[in-house]
Symmetry: C2
Subunit: 255 residues, 2 copies
DNA sequence: CGAAACGTTGACGCACGTCAATGATAGTGG
DNA sequence: CCACTATCATTGACGTGCGTCAACGTTTCG
C-alpha cells in the first residue's frame, strides 16, 4: 500500500508531534534524524512480550499494532491501537519493563528507535522532550476515553466511538477520511478493544449497517452518515488533540 | 486525621517519585521547595471542570480525589483515584485544557503548584523532569489496568482488584495496610469506578463479605483474606510500580 | 430530633454472552 | 487456475450477569 520508508514514518511522527507541540527547525531536524532499525512482523506476531526488557521504542511505519493485557483465562483487552506515525510504546522510555504486550494485528513494519537516541534527543532539544512527554499524556487521554467507552456505553455507542476515533486518526495521516478508511482487522479484534464478544460485535455491525450508518466489509469501513455515527457515539474529538480543519462532530467542540 | 501540612504532602510526593526514579540531593530539595497554594474543597465539589484552562497542578494533601468523565445522560466513569501524595492532574502540564474533570470525593486539601514552577524545576533538574514524566506514564499503566478490569472481568473481580490496588497504595503512604484501610467512599463512587451500578456493587460487597474475604463498613475496609482477595482479582501489583518489601500477590510477580 | 443521604434487599427485565451450525473469504499448494 | 482448507463472518436459540425499579432500613449530621 505504501512504501513504508523509514523517512516517511519519521515524517508522520513529526507531524503528529507538531500537531500538538511547536517545534523549531533544529528540533525538527533532530526528530527526522533519529536512528532506527527497520523490522518486519507478520500478522498476529507479538512485537513485545509482557515483562520483556526493551531498549528501544517502536514506531509504526506500516500496518496496525495493538497494546493489550489478558486475564489468566486468556481473555484479551486491547488498551490502544497504533497506526503509522504512532510510537506504540514511547512510554517504555520511562518504564522499560513492558507492563503490557504489543501485537501486530496485520503485517507490520516497525522502526525501532533506541532509548538512548530518544533520551539524547530530548536532552539536546528540550522542545522535543516536551513533545514526547505530551505524546505520552495524550495516550492517557485516549485510554480514558476507552475506559469511558467500555464502562458506560452500550455496544452500539462503543463501536461507533471507536470507528469515529479511527476515522479521524487515519484522516490525519492521510490514509482515510470521514467517509471511510481501510481497516484490516477482524471482528474479534474489535471485540477485544470494546470489551465485547465477536458475536455481539457482528450483530452490532449488522444493526449499524441496516440503519445506513456504516458498512464494514472486506477490511474497509464506509461511513455513510458521519453525523449519525458521531451522534450515537456522543463523540467529542477533543481528546485526540488533533487539528480538525473541517470537523463536524456531535457537540461542535474542539473545531 | 492528619495535619495535612504542605511540607508533609510534598514529602509524600517526593517518596512517590523516589520509589520509581533516583533523585539526588539537589533534586530532592527542588521538589520539597516547590511553591504552592493551599486550597480546601468540600466533599462532592468539583476541583477542575471539563474544558477549564488550568495553570497549576493539584497535589492531594488530604482527602480523596477522582478524575472522571460523563455521558450526556450523566452516567459517570471514574478514570482514577488520587490519594495524598498524588498529583491529580500532573498531565495538565502538557495539556492545560482539562480533558476530564476532577472531583473531591471527601473534604479535601489540595496544594496547587503553578505549572511555571514545575516547568522550571524540570528544566533546572532533568532528573525531576524525568520523574514527573515517569509519573504520568505510571498513570497510564493504572488506566490500562482499570480498562482491563472494566472490559474483561466480572463484578467480583473488579471490586477485588480495586480494593487490592487501594490497599497497596494506602500502605505505601502509611495510611493503611493489606489488612485494611480507611475508605470514606460511597458505593456509588465504587460503582462509577467499576462501570457498575450502586445496587450491584452492594450485592457484590455482600458476597465478598459472606465469603469472609473483605468487609466494608462505615468508611473502613477490613481485608480478612488478602490471598483470596488478590486471587479473585488476579491481582498483579507490577503496574503500580511500587516497592513491595513484603508483597504476597497472586502471581508472585514484581516482589 | 428530624431529614437527607446512604445502604440493603427483592422482583423482574434486558443487553450481552454462550453454544453451535452454516456460509463466505482468503490464502496455499498443486 | 483451481481445489483445498483454515480463518473469518453470520445467524439462531438460549442462558445469565447485571441493570432497573421500588421499597425499606440505617447512618449521619445539622
Amino acid at each position: 500500500m505504501s512504501p513504508a520508508e523509514p523517512a516517511e514514518a519519521l515524517r508522520l511522527f513529526l507531524a503528529r508531534l507538531m500537531a500538538r507541540s511547536p517545534l523549531g527547525a533544529e528540533d525538527q531536524k533532530t526528530v527526522l534524524g533519529l536512528p532506527c532499525t527497520v523490522r518486519h512482523f507478520a500478522a498476529h506476531r507479538e512485537i513485545v512480550q509482557l515483562g520483556q526488557q526493551v531498549e528501544h521504542a517502536g514506531l509504526v511505519a506500516d500496518g496496525f499494532v495493538a497494546r493489550f493485557g489478558q486475564t489468566e483465562e486468556g481473555q484479551r483487552q486491547f488498551f490502544s491501537f497504533h497506526i503509522p506515525g504512532d510510537f506504540a510504546d514511547l512510554y517504555s522510555l520511562m518504564v522499560p519493563t513492558a507492563p503490557s504486550a504489543l501485537q501486530a494485528l496485520t503485517a507490520t513494519t516497525i522502526l525501532q528507535v533506541p532509548h538512548s537516541a530518544l533520551r539524547s534527543a530530548a536532552a539536546r532539544c528540550p522542545a522535543v522532550g516536551a513533545a514526547m512527554w505530551r505524546d505520552c499524556v495524550i495516550d492517557n487521554l485516549s485510554l480514558s476515553q476507552w475506559l469511558m467507552n467500555v464502562g458506560r456505553r452500550d455496544a452500539r455507542s462503543r463501536l461507533a466511538h471507536l470507528l469515529c476515533e479511527l476515522a479521524l486518526r487515519f484522516d490525519f495521516i492521510g490514509r482515510g477520511s470521514r467517509q471511510g478508511f481501510s481497516l484490516p482487522m477482524t471482528q474479534e479484534h474489535l471485540a477485544d478493544a470494546l470489551g465485547l464478544t465477536p458475536v455481539h460485535v457482528n450483530r452490532t455491525l449488522k444493526a449499524l449497517r441496516e440503519d445506513g450508518v456504516v458498512t464494514l466489509a472486506r477490511g474497509r469501513v464506509h461511513i455513510h452518515d458521519w453525523e449519525m455515527l458521531a451522534a450515537s457515539a456522543q463523540f467529542d474529538p477533543l481528546y485526540l488533540q488533533l487539528p480538525s480543519p473541517s470537523c463536524h462532530c456531535a457537540k461542535g467542540r474542539g473545531c
